[in-house]
């Protein structure tokens, strides 16, 4: 039988992959992708918990996370486009102009 732990472990692995992406990449677009990966990992965990505890709350949270992800992408991409127009690049190393 597939238990809750199986799903949670898969979710954890995917989350860590997303984390590796966030750590590794310097391109803003790729960072967005990595963020999506992490959000989806969490969604899996929510859906699994909802299923195994027979409770709808987990699914509700997953819905709201999807909604937030959608708005984040809409605004984030808009900003990316503006940034790209201004700098001609999406590499964080090129955008570092706040050196303390």
């Amino acid at each position: 039988m597939i238990g809750l732990s199986h799903y949670l472990i898969v979710s954890a692995i995917i989350f860590s992959i997303g984390l590796v992406g966030v750590l590794r990449r310097r391109n803003l677009l790729m960072l967005f992708f990595a963020t999506e990966v992490m959000l989806n990992a969490v969604n899996i965990a929510f859906a699994a918990i909802s299923h195994y505890y027979n409770d709808l709350t987990g699914q509700m949270f997953a819905f709201f996370i999807i909604a937030i992800a959608a708005s984040e992408v809409a605004v984030g991409l808009g900003i990316l486009i503006v940034l790209f127009k201004k700098h001609g690049s999406l590499d964080l190393d090129d955008l570092a102009n706040m050196r303390g």
């Binding site: 039988m1 799903y7 899996i44 299923h51 959608a70 190393d93």
Partner: protein, 197 residues
């Protein structure tokens, strides 16, 4: 342990879980590692579809559909359109962070999370707050809860999406040939108002 694995893989549900897991993990790894944006995005989209498969296995039909519609349909479409502004065919040249740190942190977090989740969870005293109903479709069940208990968050989310939409349009759409931050017209308008006074 191994027998369990064999036994679980023999069921349809188990087989589907393992297939989906391996494929999602692989596709997401490509997303994160790939140098080509196009590959990354394609694998991301494919992984999203597979994740909706997880949802279907878990009986969250409505959530699976939403995942397909919103993520694969809308968000990925947004990405692909956005990508048109950037040069997508070129490989991304970036200085990646040193691998040792990345894998240390990623591996450590994976290890810790897996350890935590693999440990037995004491769930006897957890009570379902909004239990699912027998013989009622998932979509109906979700609708009942969403429009009663979660109505206000739902409406707020709707407003948030509207705001995000407007923001996206303004950021990406208005006077796309001009820089937003170097816009001098605002100053001109102020000067005009002053002159009128």
């Amino acid at each position: 342990m191994f027998e369990n694995f064999i036994a679980s893989i023999m069921t349809i549900e188990g087989a589907a879980f393992y297939v989906f897991s391996i494929l999602t993990i692989g596709l997401f790894s490509i997303t994160v590692m790939s140098k080509n944006v196009l590959y990354a995005m394609t694998s991301l989209a494919a992984a999203m579809v597979l994740i909706s498969g997880f949802f279907f296995i878990l009986g969250a039909d409505f959530l699976g559909v939403v995942q397909l519609v919103v993520y694969v349909g809308a968000i990925m479409a947004l990405y692909s359109f956005a990508m048109m502004f950037f040069d997508a065919t070129k490989d991304i040249k970036e200085k990646t962070t040193s691998n040792s740190l990345v894998f240390l942190l990623g591996g450590l977090s994976a290890l810790v999370l897996v350890l935590m989740f693999a440990a037995p969870i004491y769930s006897e005293n957890i009570q379902a707050l909004y239990p699912m109903h027998e013989g009622v479709g998932n979509a109906q069940d979700v609708g009942m809860v969403l429009f009663t208990k979660y109505l206000i968050p739902f409406e707020v989310a709707a407003v948030m999406l509207l705001v995000a939409m407007i923001a996206g349009i303004i950021l990406a759409g208005k006077k796309m040939d001009e820089s937003l931050t170097e816009d001098m017209s605002a100053d001109d308008e102020i000067l005009i108002i002053k002159d009128e006074k």
